[in-house]
Symmetry: C2
Subunit: 182 residues, 2 copies
């Protein structure tokens, strides 16, 4: 399991073994329940207990704006900003030929169909600034451009950081991505 | 001295005391020489041994582009990218009313005069994304706008980072600063 090394694993295992049997049973059932009840939203592929997720069902949100993320955890990070009011599309990973992940293994064709059918004014690509993220942005962007405006989130200096400690690539991107002072 | 705690200080002091006297004399003279010979470039206020720094003297560089940085160490960071080919202006700090640093204590009026006199096509503000940096960018930007185009470096996700671990303010800035996919 991610973030659990051999020592922590041993501590957790011993802790569980010290519990009474009925507690272990409850825990196991809770896990099975979670697995059987949590599925993917049929529209945006975010985790949900129903057919559609709460974000897709919320008509208060901007129905003309879709933000594309790799995983549900990225969606949750964007939700924490409380700035974004549009919808999402969780493609479920990034294109990575090295790891054998091609575009057909991701929710990209469902995204294109969705944008084609609905009246979408803008798709924001919020993928991580890496080779895989850039490749995926480029691929998805080309497919989407005939249908709608496509933007990507800004790459540059994180807030509160010092120029001096930024790596060269980030500084280059920040220079290249400079914008008019508002 | 920055980065030197009590233990390192003691180790350095003891090491110096173990050296023969002539070495200590050479070291002291080197320090005094450095102090007496290194001054500020009269054009851009970067550190230099001469009247003007090597960057200002280099006619290969784009003479119509000025990048504004807070300190010489930020200039050195930008030079390491090998991307930027213009000139610089080192203002020597950031406006910070809390610390009693007003605009008149920085090399801002010299910047305005410089931009007014020379044929500058664009000034890039490369200040740190913080309250002080933003205040200074706003202040300098307003003064410069009558003379030339003013831009600022991009704030957003640093290259190689994960959306999931970005703080809310950086994510908000990255969303807000989104740009057309090229």
């Amino acid at each position: 399991m991610p973030g659990i090394g051999p020592r922590t694993a041993q501590r957790l295992a011993l802790h569980l073994l010290r519990q009474p049997e009925y507690k272990i049973r409850l825990f196991s059932e809770a896990l099975l329940n979670a697995k059987s009840q949590v599925g993917q939203c049929k529209t945006c592929f975010h985790l949900t207990a129903g057919e559609q997720c709460e974000i897709c069902l919320n008509k208060q949100r901007n129905q003309e704006l879709i933000c594309v993320v790799s995983e549900s955890r990225d969606l949750l990070a964007l939700e924490r900003t409380r700035e974004y009011k549009g919808l999402y599309h969780v493609i479920g990973g990034l294109i990575s030929p090295m790891d054998g992940i091609g575009p057909e293994m991701l929710e990209i064709s469902s995204l294109i169909k969705r944008v084609d059918k609905a009246n979408i004014k803008e798709v924001i690509l919020a993928l991580t600034p890496s080779i895989e993220g850039d490749t995926t942005s480029l691929y998805v962007g080309r497919l989407l451009k005939p249908f709608t405006k496509v933007t990507r989130i800004a790459y540059g200096l994180p807030v509160g950081s010092e120029l001096e400690y930024a790596d060269e690539v980030t500084l280059s991107r920040a220079l290249e991505g400079r914008r008019d002072l508002d």
